[in-house]
Symmetry: C4
Subunit: 290 residues, 4 copies
């Protein structure tokens, strides 16, 4: 949530409410709010998960319903407060977190509307959808952005790698379908391709396994391929992360880049040992200090 | 497909056809053609895969046959057009993509010839072979070449690694055959070696598992070996990729470091954009050339 | 155990005892003690493990009980000796290794107290807890600290990665619960989330497997995700270790680069062993500091 | 096999025989011999493996026995020739490859001696041991030494890592034994530790799986641990390999280190831009040549 959605005019409580709800640093009330919210989200996800366990519902069904409504009301209040605090309601409502915040409360209300009817399947889906509340936690995963950026930078290469793997798996799966006939679960190409994914990624459920010698031989080759191919995404991400770390170190450690400025043209970015400006020939001075 | 197969003489439509079929950049018609072709390939592969699912064939068998023929005719037209567009028909027909393009259409025609006979197995194989159309997609995976080059550069080391793993697996499998006797699936050395591959690569189907204590102890050691050995291909590929990235970076950044020299004091190592010497304030000139 | 807990006053045997028990370098008696202790710990852990195997207890139950008491008495003597040797008994008793040393002997004594009663479960727990003696080995894993430091340095990023994985697994598990209904083991969300962890981490037990086509399709995507995501922790730790190695190398090689300056032309960057300036032939001096 | 075992005196055919048997470069006869030997080794290993498959023995038992004797005689001739060619018979016989070459022929002869008796188990073991012939291939895996060196350099760290993993697995396995009682295969601590190895290394056979909720929760944590811990050996080996590559590059690319020599004191190792000797202040000259 970019700070520009902070209300500039209006009553002062709105600004303060905004700081508590959207800002998380150096702010006692905001930190307290964040801790309470994270605990509430986690508890509500646990309740949703338990709500799908039959034995728990039989014993504590009423308690779960009560807790569910308490959480829904809390999240509704939070959503209303956020709407009240921001300058542009529309911008918040359509933002990623605005949609997640709304999705966290809608299913419970919808299940109320459909309670009398026979929409059992829809109710079931809605119940499960409440688990998406866990995404509200993403707001607090600042470091994840750094990781995400490294993944994003190698996005194209990883997609190419995955397409290659899918191509490989389609062809290997088809071969296994030919070899294993319809023995032991290799009943169709999609099924065999599913098996090839299970095997190449070294998951190895064992629900489908080759029965013939030739099938086992090909399976062994697929496994060795998978064991070697895992090096590719690892190599991609390692190099990307190493470069990011290298850049960060260069940025930090080079006073020359940040602090050495020409006394004539005030241009920056001069080398550590530069005495004269590379742009105008004037004297370079160190304006340093951090 | 190297551009030298583009027709130089002959009617202008052949050149234009070549550009649409074989070139993929900055060319509206070529881009449109590529998108349509990729979608057609993917659809045709899906049809081939569904063609092996019994329940789907029972219900939509006729539709699948019709679609199959439509795709075959489309790919036949494509193949003919490619043949017509290139300068040397023979060179295209014998190229990797020429063979793939031919393999994509032959099975369907052959299945027509064999329809009356009892060549059920051959028809089945031909049907599955059509899945190789997916390889036509490789044409569009330019980035894969970069990945492929990193793998190719470490080819020799990875082969040596795999040979070592195979040697290890043959010996470990034989030991397990001795220990487990013929209990629980360790019925022969090849079977035990297959099990050792399944275990060392951390796939772990579980179709064969050790039953004796000694067997479980050796199995645990094999698993720990596999868990540690996976570091080797990963290390090889990571280092290869890091070196490729390092080279690329050096190439980009190098003119400044190597070639920019002060005309007064002849010192080097000036930035790419430096006009004046950082040491004496003299003019920096590019003595470049490699 | 920091050396400051070595007794400074008191009889000389206490100092010598401390050296044998707590110091491990250049000390014949201490090395012998360490080897004996490591072997004793390993043997005692083997005895505890065998004590849980029914067939072994039936045959050699008495021998195991005797060995168990011998080890307990040995570790009691060791604990008493350590207490006697240190300057501050309290500081040792509350240190990590003090607590481990105590935990290694308590269970056997407690099981004596509870022998007549019917506290079968507690006795069982106590028996198993004796396996914690293996932690006494940690004292001898000096190099582990280096590895631990690399893991600790990337601690925050790995936690963020694991939180992301848990979030992903909760959502993917919920989807699988919706898709697979209650077929084949996907009986509740927690169960499905457990399956998602088994699949994403490429463990793949196969006790629960998807039965529907859509479920298998989603499962294949989860496997490919897990196959690609494993690159993230690997990348994090690799970069961290590379930086640690880089720092170590820089530290070693650095005085020459930073501190060795020509007394005539004041140029820097001379080698560690340079006596004369490589630029003007003047004397190189060490202007050091830190 | 170091070249110093080449006979210096004696008839010239011994020297030539040595070159064919032990040297593999730039030598037509030696290359031909190597190719034939590798194929013979591979064929003989295949025969040994097939010899353990009951259905194959029933059908082709006689053929296998004949082939087995042909290979044994060939390897016996090879062993005798090697013994004849070397200067010191004893040194070869006790070398790694001398022992392997002997082990490749002994089992077949021993099985002859024991054929009449009832030493079925020993014969079975001997039969399997012939598979060790695969180790004769190690002679031809020169590049493996480079990989081996990288593994050897990180040997200590990898051992520490494996000890940590074993400690972890003993404790986690004991916990699982406590939690899962004796349900579903967790019948003893060694069994549970075996399961913990299967799970932490992401092998996941599925022969033993947790049945209780708490057990599944702990299992999920173990899996996530294993998924993250795999980064450690990978990081260790990657860094080691990167440093080896870095060293190799530095050696190659630095004329300064190899070729710049003081004209006065003839010391080497001067920087690329050094004009005066860092040791005696004399002039540095480039004695280059590649």
């Amino acid at each position: 949530m970019s700070p520009t959605n902070r209300p500039e005019n209006g009553p002062p409580w709105r600004g303060r409410l905004y700081d508590v709800l959207f800002e998380s640093d150096q702010n006692g009330a905001a930190t307290a709010f964040d801790v309470v919210l994270i605990l509430t989200i986690l508890s509500s996800v646990v309740v949703v998960m338990l709500d799908s366990v039959e034995t728990v519902v039989e014993e504590h069904g009423f308690l779960l319903r009560v807790l569910e409504w308490i959480f829904t009301i809390l999240f509704t209040i939070e959503y209303a407060a956020r709407l009240a605090a921001v300058r542009s309601k529309r911008r918040y409502a359509l933002s990623f977190f605005g949609i997640i915040d709304l999705l966290a409360i809608i299913p419970t209300y919808l299940s109320l509307l459909l309670l009398d009817g026979g929409f059992l399947l829809i109710i079931r889906v809605l119940r499960v959808l409440r688990v998406f509340r866990v995404l509200k936690l993403v707001r607090y995963m600042g470091e994840a952005r750094t990781l995400g950026r490294a993944l994003a930078a190698s996005r194209y290469r990883i997609i190419v790698f995955l397409i290659s793997v899918v191509t490989l798996v389609v062809i290997l799966g088809s071969f296994m379908y030919l070899i294993e006939g319809s023995t032991a679960g290799f009943t169709s190409i999609p099924q065999s391709v599913y098996w090839a994914v299970v095997t190449l990624t070294t998951v190895g459920f064992g629900d489908i396994t080759p029965a013939t010698s030739v099938g086992k031989f090909l399976a062994a080759i697929i496994m060795l391929m998978g064991y070697g191919l895992i090096a590719v995404p690892t190599g991609i991400v390692s190099v990307e992360m190493a470069q990011a770390a290298h850049m960060a170190r260069k940025m930090e450690g080079s006073p020359s880049v940040r602090d050495r400025v020409c006394s004539d043209c005030h241009s920056g970015g001069h080398d550590y040992d530069a005495q004269f400006c590379k742009g105008c020939g004037g004297t370079v001075v160190d304006v340093g200090a951090e």
